[in-house]
């Protein structure tokens, strides 16, 4: 299948959905560039599926607009939107063969049989299911079924590919290979795509940009690296990966950095544009943290705080050391097991000095 060259951009403007008295999606405004893949990520019930279904035309927005390629399609019925959609349960037509499933969208477009056949064959070849054309969906594995659904969705050369937890029903290994496969096909065909997931790894792996949703609103939008390394809020920092949070008060300013006195003891430097705050919450990723024995001198570029080891959990690649700070807050370090079980040198109850590069300090909103 050739790259259609028809990639279109998508814009959501003030998109809102109210069910009864509950505002499930709240003024979502978002631009998605042609050929871009965006993942909507958030906890259960935050409105991801509802947002996706409004884009698909399966749910009517209470307010706001959906624009594809600059055209308002908010009032266009779903079957005229030229959208390919993948469902968590695959939604293959059980009474039709694999080939008939893939041909369905082309038939609905009134395409001649002679034209449909080669398109179906190449779509199935693209998902490596050329030999399965005559089977019924029930005779395929979950992964194969979702690949058929993918072929069925892209064969119509959709303006938009929508995926609602497409891999949620697959086991972990298969999920990872399907993530790569779907992503490759999406990039090769240059289709604009919106994916819903509550699996953060999936979002980080597959998407050009990640949209964190919370209670129907956009919490943060950015590339996977931005979201991970510069979360704006405590919510985002703890939703994407794991994070430690340190409370502190601003003691002074040092260039574009704030000097912060930690509640748990110790002083750290924090990058910050706004210096007006006196209280601050700092996010520190557990993999950035190293442990020293009390008494070993920390280097000047390091931040640190004293802590008491509580529990040590061996996890293969890493060892998780769970600690408690002097102000009672939990703190965790993921120590790499590069040279065997490093963390074994520490023991529960031991007082340690947790330290990390000052660049790993990131201020977040306490919400």
């Amino acid at each position: 299948m050739a790259k259609g060259g028809t990639a279109t951009d998508l814009a959501l403007s003030g998109l809102t959905k109210v069910f009864g008295t509950a505002t499930v999606v709240d003024r979502v405004t978002l631009r998605i560039a042609a050929g871009e893949m965006v993942a909507l990520l958030g906890p259960s019930g935050c409105g991801k599926t509802t947002t996706l279904r409004m884009i698909a035309g399966l749910v009517e927005p209470t307010k706001g607009e959906v624009l594809i390629g600059g055209y308002r399609i908010t009032r266009v019925p779903s079957h005229r939107r030229n959208i390919g959609m993948l469902f968590q349960n695959y939604a293959l037509f059980p009474h039709m063969s694999v080939a008939a499933n893939v041909a369905f969208g082309l038939q609905m477009r009134g395409m001649a049989k002679a034209l449909i056949q080669p398109k179906v064959a190449s779509a199935l070849a693209l998902v490596q299911l050329g030999d399965y054309a005559e089977r019924l969906p029930s005779a395929l594995s979950g992964g194969q079924q979702q690949r058929v659904a993918l072929a069925r969705a892209i064969v119509i050369e959709p303006s938009l590919l929508l995926l609602d937890e497409p891999l949620g029903a697959l086991d972990r290994n298969l999920r990872e290979s399907m993530q790569v496969e779907i992503r490759q096909i999406q990039q090769r065909l240059g289709i604009t795509a919106v994916m819903v997931t509550h699996d953060q790894e999936e979002a980080l792996t597959m998407a050009d940009r990640v949209v964190i949703m919370r209670d129907g609103r956009l919490e943060q939008v950015g590339t996977p690296a931005e979201i991970y390394s510069r979360p704006t809020s405590r919510f985002v920092a703890s939703f994407i990966g794991a994070s430690n949070f340190l409370r502190g008060s601003v003691a002074g300013r040092n260039g574009d950095q704030l000097q912060v006195q930690l509640a748990s003891g110790g002083q750290v430097l924090v990058p910050s544009a706004d210096g007006g705050r006196s209280e601050i919450l700092i996010s520190v990723r557990p993999e950035a943290v190293g442990l020293r024995r009390i008494g070993e001198t920390p280097s000047a570029s390091e931040s640190g705080t004293p802590a008491t080891v509580q529990q040590i959990v061996y996890r293969g690649q890493t060892t998780h050391v769970h600690m408690r700070l002097d102000d009672g807050e939990p703190f965790v370090a993921f120590l790499p097991n590069r040279q065997g079980e490093q963390a074994k040198t520490f023991s529960a109850g031991e007082k340690v000095w947790a330290s990390w590069s000052s660049q790993s300090n990131w201020p977040v909103a306490d919400s």
Partner: protein, 267 residues
């Protein structure tokens, strides 16, 4: 699908199934056995073997007439219930029809109301409307009692339809009517078939409605059977009964061939 039942619950289920078989099938077997009896009266046990009763019954014009009335009536009632019941069930399940619950309850009410009373009420109503044609009256009465079966089975299978299939079809460009024919209908065919079978058998078997609405010319088989029986109780009665049983079995086999009984009954 059919897991083996074990333990006390299993034993109870097997016992109940066996009891049902004995009480339903055994009397029917007696009827069939008697229909081949050479005796002059339909009394158990049968004596000898003859097909003379069948020959007599099949040659009997009154029987032929009653059988035709019943078959045509059942087919007409089933077809009409199908034509009315499928759209009604679909609309009730999928569209925001005001008072949908009330309408559904009304459509299903013949299930609950005593049919004998329904028939009597209908007779008085039709008489008041000056409708004298027994064939038309029977048709109306039978549709009344067969329609609920279609509404019920089709509604039940619509509730089981995987809505994401319909949504997938929609996003692929299918207009609502195309979604209905290409995706919804294939999924509810078993329910429709089961509903039609029930409707056919209920009509073919109906006594309480036909009792009020039939007349001497348009007399469905169960009424004919009953009136013959009050004249003489010879094995021709059991031969007629056996032919009715056979019709029922043929309908079930037909359904099995068409859609598979297991699928049809799993509504």
């Amino acid at each position: 699908m059919a897991g083996r039942l074990s333990g006390g619950g299993g034993a109870a289920v097997y016992t109940m199934a066996a009891a049902t078989l004995v009480f339903v099938a055994a009397p029917l077997a007696v009827v069939v056995a008697l229909s081949f009896s050479e005796g002059a009266l339909a009394t158990f046990p049968p004596v000898g073997f003859t097909t003379a009763w069948y020959e007599a019954v099949i040659a009997n014009e009154e029987f032929q007439n009653a059988f035709m009335v019943s078959v045509l009536l059942a087919l007409a009632a089933t077809a009409t219930s199908f034509a009315l019941g499928v759209p009604a069930a679909y609309a009730l399940d999928r569209w925001p029809v005001p008072g949908a619950r009330m309408i559904e309850a009304a459509l299903l009410s013949p299930f609950i109301l005593p049919i004998l009373i329904t028939g009597l009420a209908l007779l008085q109503f039709l008489a008041a409307m000056k409708m004298r044609d027994a064939a038309v009256n029977l048709f109306i009465g039978h549709v009344l009692v067969t329609l609920p079966y279609l509404v019920r089975t089709v509604t039940a299978s619509l509730k089981q339809v995987d809505r994401s299939l319909e949504e997938a079809a929609t996003t692929l460009g299918a207009a609502p009517w195309q979604v209905f024919w290409r995706v919804t209908v294939p999924q509810i065919v078993p329910g429709i078939a089961a509903g039609c079978l029930f409707a056919f058998m209920v009509s073919f078997d109906d006594f309480p409605i036909s009792f009020w609405l039939g007349d001497a010319e348009t007399m469905p088989l169960p009424i004919f059977l009953h009136s013959s029986m009050s004249k003489v109780f010879d094995p021709s009665i059991t031969a007629m009964s056996s032919l009715m049983i056979l019709t029922g079995i043929l309908a079930v086999i037909g359904l099995e061939k068409l859609v598979g009984l297991r699928r049809a009954m799993s509504v």
